[in-house]
Each structure stands twice: as structure tokens, then as C-alpha cells.
């Protein structure tokens, strides 16, 4: 069964001399249960594509049929009337987590129910005991149960991102779209976030589309990679085939951006641990617990 179907999607930004096609007659299909990486250098259209999939951005008039599980998201540059019913089935994870920093973690997860409960309950923030238990379970699954009552702002980036995944969990999302979920995280936190996304895909059969800046994560976690360059799909196939040579042929000198491991703390270095490193590990017991 097809999870996401995109046909002939074109998006132009700017006007006059500054016109630039961010997406150019792009077509793509993702099958149910797949875990697909979306790679490409900055400005290649990864985020724009993901925003189209959820209807946050509309395609140019007359282009772009997008549906998720046969439910229309947008067609011909117009948003579907029943967009909310579609969105309820899609979990979204953003680069900057987008949690409400003043609210406790549990509430930030509970809002995942907002799309499926009556408006008046959402308005008053009335969640049932059952819903709270489900939210706690979701937090437990991403290893954050003990932080449930803490404000989101008191947690590290990696923890906040895992809470965003827990929000998608309570939503019973059939598709998770993750827009550069690890771009602002350190390698350890990145690995944990990718592990959780991968577990959701394997254990729950959730379809996952994740845009990534670094090819090595795509190779490690996603069987299939779609590579974008200037709004066009330049490669769509097994991630294992993404050799540096292939990338070089796809992106030219831009391929460095995708390959250079951006890792300030390389775990391979066999030097005695500095005090700061030990301190960092001690401060984040939750990371170690997962």
C-alpha cells in the first residue's frame, strides 16, 4: 500500500529576477512501512518537500498532487478541505523540536491527542486519565518518564526531540515526517533519536521519512535514500549504494557538505576522558538509561 504519493510537485519562491524553483516537477512514492532518508545539501529542497507533505506549504497553482494513505493533502496548489483528518495520522518532528518550553513534558506529549479529541476538551486542556497513562507510556518508551513533570525548557535538545517523538507516538501516527531531526544535536543524542525513529518503524510498522544532512546516518538507519539536488530527485534507491564517488557525481564539490563528519567529539579518539566529558555524561543519566 502506498503511504505517501507525490505527483508533479513544483514550488517557486520569490518573483521576477529572484524566482527560484525550490522543487521542480518532483514525483515520489513511499510505501507503507518504509524508512526513507531524504538527503541533499542545504537549499536542495528537503524541508520544503516535507512541509508540502503536511500541507504547511502549498505547491504552485496547478501542480502537485499529494496524498497520504489515499487521503488528499493538497492538489493543484489548493489545500484539502479535510486536511485535519489527514494531519491527525501524520506525526511531525522538527529540527528545533517546537515544544512549548514553559509546559511540562507530559503536557507537551498530551497535545498529540488534540487532533482526535473534541474541541472543548482541547480548549480546557482536559485529558482523561487513560490519555495521561498513554502519554506516560510514550515518555517511558523514549526513556523520559522520570522527566514527565519538568518544563520542556529544562531538558537537553536530544531529550526534547525524543519528547517530540513521544508526541507522535500518542498520536498513533501512521506516518512520521522528521525534518532534520538531528541537525542541532550532538552525535550521541543524534544516535538515540535515530534509534527511536528506527524502532517505531520496525516495531510499529510506522512509515518514516527523515531528512538528513549527513549521509552516514542515512546509510546506517534507512534502507532507502532519496537524494535531492536543486529541487529534483537525483537518486532514489538503496542507501548502501551511496558511495562517496556516487555523491561526488551527484553533487560535485557540494558533496563534501554531506560527507564530512561534523563531530566535534569523536568517540574514536583514544585519549583519556577529560573532566568536561565525564561531567557531561554524569549530567544526563536519562541518556545512559535508554
Amino acid at each position: 500500500m502506498t503511504a505517501i504519493a507525490i505527483k508533479d510537485l513544483t514550488k517557486t519562491f520569490g518573483s521576477g529576477a529572484n524566482r527560484r524553483k525550490a522543487l521542480n516537477a518532483l514525483s515520489l512514492q513511499v510505501e507503507k512501512g518504509e524508512m526513507v532518508a531524504l538527503i541533499g545539501a542545504s537549499g536542495s529542497g528537503k524541508s520544503t518537500l516535507i512541509r508540502h507533505m503536511i500541507g504547511l506549504t502549498l505547491a504552485d497553482r496547478g501542480t502537485g498532487n499529494i496524498s497520504v494513505f489515499d487521503q488528499n493533502v493538497q492538489a493543484g496548489g489548493r489545500i484539502s478541505r479535510s486536511i485535519r483528518q489527514t494531519r491527525v495520522r501524520v506525526g511531525v518532528v522538527f529540527q528545533q523540536f517546537n515544544l512549548v518550553s514553559r509546559l511540562p513534558l507530559l503536557t507537551n506529549v498530551l497535545v498529540g491527542f488534540l487532533g482526535s479529541i473534541p474541541t472543548w476538551r482541547g480548549l480546557l486542556g482536559l485529558f482523561t486519565h487513560q490519555e495521561k497513562l498513554l502519554a506516560m507510556q510514550a515518555l517511558k518508551r523514549v526513556g523520559l518518564a522520570e522527566y514527565a513533570s519538568q518544563r520542556a525548557s529544562t531538558l537537553s535538545g536530544g531529550q526534547q526531540q525524543r519528547a517530540a517523538i513521544a508526541r507522535a507516538l500518542v498520536q498513533h501516527a501512521q506516518v512520521i515526517l522528521a525534518d532534520e531531526p538531528i541537525a542541532s544535536l550532538d552525535p550521541e543524542a543524534s544516535r538515540k533519536v535515530m534509534d527511536h525513529l528506527s524502532a517505531l518503524n520496525r516495531e510499529d510498522g510506522t512509515t518514516v521519512v527523515v531528512s538528513l544532512h549527513q549521509v552516514d546516518y542515512a546509510i546506517r538507519y534507512c534502507p532507502r535514500t532519496v537524494a535531492l539536488h536543486e529541487g529534483i530527485v537525483v537518486y532514489d534507491g538503496p542507501s548502501a549504494n551511496l558511495t562517496p564517488e556516487l555523491l561526488k557525481s551527484l553533487y560535485g564539490s557540494d558533496s563534501d557538505e554531506l560527507l564530512v563528519p561534523q563531530r566535534p567529539r569523536n568517540p574514536v579518539v583514544l585519549a583519556p576522558k577529560s573532566k568536561t566529558q565525564q561531567g557531561r555524561l554524569v549530567e544526563t543519566p536519562a541518556l545512559a538509561a535508554v
Partner: protein
């Protein structure tokens, strides 16, 4: 050899050292003259102040010691004044919130609604509370109901604006996140926008309670309930000792409310 023009020319003075142009010089002159005439027309004079000094000292003399005989009736009246302030502020805050949602650019349902609700809030704010009190005294008669309504309207004018601005300043990303997972508009407002603006809501509400406490005292002067009328009667009857008791008790009330509000603000936010 002639000195080249580039060397001989003096560097230009910065703008603010240049002489004012004729129109702006005239404008300064007119503004200054108007200020002078205003002071002249207010009838202030050192002579009158000096002549008036004995009557001020006589009044101060009669004010002390304050007459505590009527303290319990003053106390009740003061309580009524404060209740007017509290009732008006609470009603005002409750009514401000929906109006502020319509008047916040980022969440207002429609530009026309935005402009209309902004306009209504501005109108409530720009008309002074004493004028509202006069209107409501005519509408519902003398007594605290009129004062409470005047404070309610005044609070809407104040809180409506600051609530709306607090919501406009919130981070849009969490709201977008809820939007993208199918939350309704109200769900998004109540789960992402309001929680972010909440500390600011508390702050504005406490300020408006302080403001309402002060104005509730004055509103009594036009018969809108509260202690103001007692003060006016005491002054009119030259009972300065009673008046001083009222003034001191009002002072105490305002002081307590302001300190309590400062304390709460530091506690909550």
C-alpha cells in the same frame, strides 16, 4: 602653486551641529511661546501660594490627629471600594481574553475582525475611566455597580491590548507543530500560544488590579460607589480630621495592594 580644492574645503559638520532651518526654528519658537502662555494662563503665582499657606497649615492642623470615631464605617466603605476594584478587574480580565484573541494579529480569525477588535480595545482605553463612571451612573444609577462596570471597561482596554501583544510575541514554531498534527485552531491557541504568553498575562492582570484600586477611590467622587464620596463629603463639611483618616486608609490600601502584587509577580513569574 594653488592649493587643490580638495584640501582647502573644510569637512562638513555633522547634521546635529548644523543651524536649524527656518521652519523648524519657527516651530521651536511657537512651542516655547505656547508653554509660556500656558503657565501664564494657569494663574499660578508665588503671591497666591504665600497667601494660601496659612489656610493649608490650618487644614493640616485640623487633620491631625485623625478622627478615628468613624473608622469602622470608613473601613467598610474601603472594603467596598476594594471589592469594586477586584470585581471589575476579574470581569475585565475574563472579557479581555476572548477579545485579545480576536485582536492578536497571528491568531485573529480575519483581518476585519482584527481591526474591529483592536479598535474597540483602543476606544475602551482612550476614554478615561471617570467618563465611563459618569455614563454608567446615568445608566444604572448611583452605587458600586456603576463603578464596577467602569473598572471592567477600563481593564478590558488595558488587558485587551497587553494580552494581544503578549500573544503576538509568542514563538510561532510550537503553534505550527500543533497545526501540522491536526489540532484545531482553538486547541492550538490554548495549548501553544496562551501557555507561552501566560507570565505576561499575570503581569498585566496584577498591574490592572493596582490601577483599578487607585481609580476605584476616585470613581466615588462621581457617585459610582466606594470611599470617594465619603472623602468628598468630609472635605465639603470641613471635617478635615475625618478626611485625613480616609486619606490615610486609602494610602494603606494602595500600599498593601501594590506590595502584594509585586510579591506575587516575583513569586509566579
Amino acid at each position: 602653486m594653488p592649493i587643490s580644492p580638495a584640501v582647502s574645503r573644510l569637512p562638513l559638520l555633522p547634521d546635529r551641529y548644523a543651524r536649524p532651518s527656518l521652519p523648524s526654528f519657527m516651530a521651536y519658537l511657537v512651542a516655547f511661546a505656547f508653554a509660556m502662555v500656558s503657565i501664564q494662563n494657569s494663574g499660578l503665582s508665588l503671591e497666591r501660594l504665600l497667601v494660601g499657606l496659612p489656610s493649608i497649615s490650618r487644614m493640616l492642623d485640623q487633620m491631625f490627629p485623625p478622627d478615628l470615631e468613624r473608622i469602622s464605617s470608613i473601613g467598610w466603605s474601603l472594603l467596598q471600594t476594594f471589592q469594586m476594584a477586584v470585581a471589575g478587574t476579574v470581569l475585565g480580565i475574563v472579557l479581555s481574553l476572548p477579545l485579545a484573541i480576536l485582536a492578536a494579529r497571528n491568531i485573529s480569525p480575519h483581518p476585519v475582525v482584527y481591526v474591529l477588535s483592536r479598535g474597540l480595545i483602543s476606544f475602551f482605553r482612550t476614554v478615561p475611566d471617570l467618563v465611563w463612571a459618569l455614563i454608567f451612573v446615568i445608566a444604572v444609577g448611583l452605587g458600586p455597580a456603576a463603578g464596577t462596570m467602569a473598572i471592567t471597561i477600563d481593564t478590558i482596554g488595558f488587558c485587551g491590548r497587553f494580552f494581544a501583544e503578549a500573544m503576538e510575541e509568542t514563538d510561532a514554531a510550537p503553534a505550527e507543530a500543533l497545526n501540522s498534527i491536526g489540532a484545531s485552531r482553538t486547541g492550538m491557541i490554548f495549548s501553544a500560544v496562551i501557555p507561552q504568553a501566560f507570565p505576561s498575562f499575570i503581569n498585566s492582570s496584577l498591574f490592572s488590579l493596582e490601577k483599578a484600586t487607585r481609580s476605584s477611590v476616585v470613581l466615588g467622587l462621581v457617585g459610582a460607589g466606594g470611599i470617594g464620596i465619603e472623602l468628598k463629603v468630609a472635605m465639603d463639611l470641613f471635617s478635615y480630621d475625618v478626611a485625613s483618616t480616609i486619606i490615610l486608609s486609602v494610602f494603606m490600601l494602595v500600599l498593601v495592594v501594590e506590595n502584594a502584587s509585586t510579591y506575587l509577580r516575583s513569586k509566579i513569574i
